[in-house]
């Protein structure tokens, strides 16, 4: 059963300490902190949608390249071997460690892919004045999937592995490793330029009738 929204949409509760307070109107670049526990409640980003969209398009291209080409190779006494990002998970699966293989596949390939894909869908849908309902659904699952997207952790792991192996064989970093290195910074930039609250304020509500009950003024100004 849907809850009733409050007549005043500027009233919020701090997610860290639950204190009720009024959210001031923020100019681009400004942020608001909780009156009691001092945690940041919201940051208003400048030109968020366009910047994040540009970054996300770049991220999707890098993601595809990173998963299509070899990540690291090895040369020892005239023999060569190489592996891709997915190759690591595949090897675990074939060696009988399916549970860890699935975890690696999920955190290194599936979750980052969903993260970028969801973000692309959210941003394209939000180009409209009143983003459709599915934008809200993607946005709701975006946070949950991001926790499990661990490209930066994987890169650190790969670098450690690379140096370990370098003791007894010649290691050859693949193109994918450099691409993933760039992707980490782009994902970090997406996270810092994205303003979910801006989209929540415009998106079509799950319970459409209650939306009309709340502050019709915002509808006009948007």
């Amino acid at each position: 059963m849907y809850n009733q929204p409050l007549p005043d949409p500027s009233l919020v509760a701090c997610p860290h300490c639950d204190t009720l307070q009024r959210m001031p109107d923020l100019s681009p670049g400004e942020s608001a902190r909780c009156t009691r526990c001092d945690e940041e409640l919201r940051r208003h980003h400048k030109d968020s949608l366009q910047r994040t969209l540009a970054l996300t398009l770049a991220a999707s291209i890098l993601y595809i390249v990173a998963n299509a080409v070899p990540m690291l190779g090895l040369q020892v006494v005239g023999r060569q071997a190489f592996t891709t990002v997915i190759g690591g998970a595949e090897h675990l699966w074939n060696a009988g460690w399916q549970s860890v293989g699935i975890l690696v596949l999920f955190t290194a390939v599936v979750a980052p892919g969903l993260q970028i894909g969801f973000m692309l869908a959210i941003l394209i849908g939000s180009l409209r004045k009143r983003p459709p309902r599915w934008v809200g659904t993607f946005l709701r699952y975006y946070r949950k999937i991001t926790t499990w997207s661990m490209i930066e952790v994987m890169i650190l792991g790969v670098l450690v592995a690379l140096i370990k192996i370098a003791d007894y064989a010649k290691v050859v970093p693949g193109i994918s490793l450099y691409v993933l290195g760039a992707l980490i910074f782009i994902i970090a930039a997406i996270e810092s330029s994205f303003d979910p609250q801006d989209i929540w304020e415009r998106v079509k509500w799950a319970d459409a009738p209650s939306r009309r009950a709340v502050n019709p003024i915002t509808e006009v100004t948007r």
Binding site: V12, A13, H16, L20, S210
Partner: protein, 213 residues
């Protein structure tokens, strides 16, 4: 104006942790759905303490085999040799390699045990109704949530070492049972952190403020 604050809980309001909307549940209901984003709502995460304890105890149990059992087995012409996480750290330790050794030591041994201790401390302090250093405790929780993912480093190290070093009959590296337990520790501590509700840290003080007001 009085210094006393009012919380969403005291006003009978649900605060959506996904989209931030405040809303009022139907009369007499304790649960509901967010009219904006469709998320299931409750005043606090359901059974937060029990669920966090359950994941945490499971993680603590897995932490032992994760450190005692070998995570990698290296097979060479000279025979097979198995290494635990700690042995891996020691192997990496060299005049040039020590920073990496330190990263693995921190990410694989210190972070998991630190997370288990920090969450246990938060749970116990909440259950005792502590009102001391609330800001610091919320910050500690934020750190546990933020840092947790980095424990996965060793899983990736072992995965890519094993998938690359397949030079039979010269040398082959394969994962061992310890890796499964170690991966379980990482996932379980992350789930434990997600089940906890930081608003519980502030609840005892909010109640006191109401009583004094």
């Amino acid at each position: 104006m009085s210094a006393a604050v009012s919380t969403a809980l005291q006003q009978g309001l649900h605060s959506c942790r996904t989209c931030g909307l405040l809303s009022r549940p139907a009369h007499g209901e304790v649960e509901g759905r967010c009219p904006r984003c469709d998320e299931a709502l409750a005043f606090r995460k359901p059974a937060a303490l029990q669920r966090t304890w359950a994941f945490l105890i499971a993680a603590a149990v897995c932490y032992i085999p994760a450190n005692v059992l070998p995570v990698l087995t290296t097979t060479t012409a000279a025979g097979a040799e198995s290494d635990t996480i700690l042995q891996g750290v020691i192997l990496l330790w060299s005049p040039t390699g020590w920073p990496l050794s330190l990263i693995v030591l921190i990410a694989s041994i210190m972070i998991p045990i630190g997370k288990i201790i920090a969450l246990a401390f938060l749970l116990i302090s909440v259950q005792q109704g502590s009102i001391k250093s609330n800001e610091q405790r919320v910050r500690l929780y934020g750190m546990v949530e933020f840092i947790g993912r980095w424990s996965m480093v060793d899983v990736f190290v072992d995965t890519y070492t094993a998938s690359l070093v397949q030079l039979q009959p010269l040398m082959a590296v394969e994962p061992s049972a310890g890796l499964v337990f170690f991966a379980a520790v990482v996932v379980l501590t992350m789930l434990a952190a997600q089940s906890f509700d930081p608003r519980l840290i502030w609840d005892p003080e909010s109640e006191q403020e109401v009583r004094h007001a």
